[in-house]
Symmetry: C2
């Protein structure tokens, strides 16, 4: 380890409390959708302290709203800005984007929480609260890494572009807006909760809604009607076959230990309004997983084709074809080669800090990395503290030592990636 690296590691050891305090403040400013401004204020304050060049703006211009990958159920984002803080390099090095989202999912039923959902309480090395894992722990790790670099008097060659975006949980409009504003780099790291695994590939996904038609009748003469529920069951079986077919194609070794790499999840069904009537409409909603190496459009076409094929199985579907709508959430897949230099750098720094080999896997969920890579053509690695199991649950927490570890690995990786000016 170089002397400046040792200095940095030493500083981090002594200043873990700074990371904890920052994370606590971030969690305490509950930033559910539409309420991100006060948590962004904490970010802005820290960026100012670090001397970053700040860009704070409200997203939602025409260019964004009309972009083919703009995905949101709202068009006005006033009052809750995106924040970008730039640590300008001396020049001559590779640049990097550090992207994290500030929005958190709702806290759900407060009765399921032992403490206030936004307490930020620390107990037994864990920090509790909505967003602690997803993904303010990551945000804190990034800012702590930058603070360590600054505090250790290290001057980088490449630029570091720190991004604190809104709207990740609702389709990624915040990250898309950073691209449209011109922010790009030679690579990006997103510290979503990977439990310190390296995720060069991420499953993309999108939501679908299928409407299945039946014919109503009185339940006592149900044979005079056609049950939309029974027809919906055939549709679901068709989706199950499609899932099997799609997954049998996946041969990427990163998916070796994953039971269903790209699942088709039927998350919702609603049909009928009266127990003794034959229902004439069933609505199915679900999430289709998208493989790292396929496009959203191809995946959509494949499902639409499978629904059409139902007409060969049952003549009912000839006259009453199920209709499909792609609505709501959409997350592009990520697909970085494990040979990419960024992976090599982080893997190497991981090994030196943790003293063991990093696990490299494909993630079962998409991140804003899909937008950075597919729209922005930026190589993206997802790597961060925390485990997804607790992410959207009550009593969400994060192990603080993982936050410090990630801060250290990312700080050392940035130095290697961007290069330093001696």
């Amino acid at each position: 380890m170089e002397p400046y690296e040792s200095r940095l590691v030493e500083w981090l050891k002594k200043n873990q409390a700074r990371g904890t305090s920052l994370l606590q403040k971030l969690v305490q400013e509950g930033s559910t959708r539409g309420n991100e401004s006060s948590a962004q204020a904490v970010v802005i304050e820290k960026c100012r302290e670090l001397g970053l060049i700040l860009d704070i703006w409200e997203i939602g211009n025409k260019q964004l709203l009309s972009h083919p990958y703009f995905c949101s159920d709202r068009k006005v984002f006033e009052g809750n800005p995106n924040v970008v803080g730039i640590l300008k390099g001396k020049g001559g090095g590779r640049s990097i984007i550090l992207n994290s989202h500030i929005d958190v999912v709702p806290e759900g039923d407060r009765n399921n929480w032992l403490d206030d959902p936004f307490s930020g309480k620390v107990k037994d090395g864990k920090l509790y609260g909505r967003g602690s894992t997803d993904m303010k722990g990551g945000t804190a790790a990034l800012l702590l890494a930058l603070e360590a670099i600054r505090a250790s008097d290290i001057t980088l060659k490449g630029d570091v572009i720190f991004e604190s975006v809104i709207e990740e949980e609702s389709g990624g409009a915040g990250t898309l807006a950073t691209l449209l504003r011109g922010y790009t780099a030679d690579a990006a790291i997103i510290p979503e909760p990977t439990n310190l695994k390296l995720f060069p590939k991420q499953q993309g996904s999108m939501w679908f809604r299928i409407s299945v038609t039946g014919k109503s009748a009185h339940g006592g003469t149900r044979y005079e009607g056609t049950s939309a529920i029974e027809k919906a069951m055939q549709v679901i079986e068709q989706l199950q076959s499609l899932e099997k077919k799609r997954n049998s194609r996946i041969d990427d070794p990163l998916y070796e230990h994953i039971k269903i790499p790209i699942p088709i999840n039927v998350g919702k069904i609603n049909s009928g309004s009266w127990p003794s009537s034959v229902p004439d409409l069933a609505i199915i909603e679900g999430r289709m997983g998208v493989a790292p190496n396929e496009t959203m459009e191809n995946a959509q076409t494949e499902m639409e084709t499978a629904l059409l094929a139902l007409q060969q199985l049952d003549s009912w579907f000839n006259l009453h074809p199920p209709t499909i709508e792609w609505f709501g959430g959409r997350w592009l897949p990520g697909n970085l080669s494990i040979e990419h230099p960024l992976i090599q750098v982080v893997k190497d720094r991981y090994a030196s800090v943790v003293n063991s080999q990093a696990v490299i896997e494909a993630s079962p969920w998409g991140t804003d990395g899909g937008i950075l890579s597919q729209v922005g053509h930026i190589p993206v690695l997802v790597f961060g503290p925390g485990v997804t199991e607790v992410a959207h649950d009550a009593n969400e927490y994060i192990h603080l030592k993982d936050v410090y570890l990630v801060a250290e690995i990312i700080a050392l990786s940035i130095i290697r990636w961007c290069g330093i000016d001696h």
Copy 2:
């Protein structure tokens, strides 16, 4: 035909307009649940005019509410009385109950109606409006029959007990209350819309709600959870097998032409609240048909046993057995032998009036006849004007000539059944 019968038929021919006018008034007093009083006032007025002994009372006493066959989601029925009108016989004859319900189902979306749902409009021999078929046409036919008997100076030997009850559409509490108040007879006719067919047997039915448990997970790792929707599909398949098994047992020739004599209808399913989550609960609601010769309790036990049997098919159900609840609607089956003298009388009078043989069938739905027969042990025939296809629909109507026909057949049947005092 006896001279007094000819007199009666003659009177009816001349006084059809009286029946039409009565039916019109009944339909115009829309009597959805809880709003039956003004239509009952029309009934009461007619009963007074006919010199019937009136009994008007609000149902809902302790005895009713605690009766094992009391089935209602409310306990207070104030302001909307049951009405009974008795035409006392001279003695020495068989008595008969004429039962019809005054409550009608809601009109639904008014936009689907060409006229006001309670217009009572007459056009091309049809009278339109909610309740015209189900079953104010029947009520009007009964009262017209009684009026014809009175107008023809016929004195009956047996008593005629005319009942205009509430709550048929919601579980039969009105008819149950007549039994508890002491009203019984040697037989009963219920002029529900049978399209002039004779229904000595009626399919009973009851509602069920099955809760199926899964295990939630993120849709991207759906294999970590267990889909309540997929488990519910297994439950529905089990219900389909049970339906097949139950119907294979039915060998009553009255069911010869009925595809599924006692269907199990799954009318509703609701599961999940988020497209990209694995749902952990599915709720199925439906209606179980009950055969004329079986008890509600046996049918319930058979379904509960079928659900238990799922545990042999799939170990998931061992730890998470689906639970069943019998809620809401419950209609007891009716089961009168086609050899019963009442059937013979009505069949015979039908033939003489219509000049063809009456069709005798089993009905695909229950009526208050189930309560009269199973609780009151009264032989019941269901026979009336109108077709069920229009019963609960927009633009409900009835062919007026069928109302007059039924009035004539029932009046002549009453004379034969009760006997007359020459």
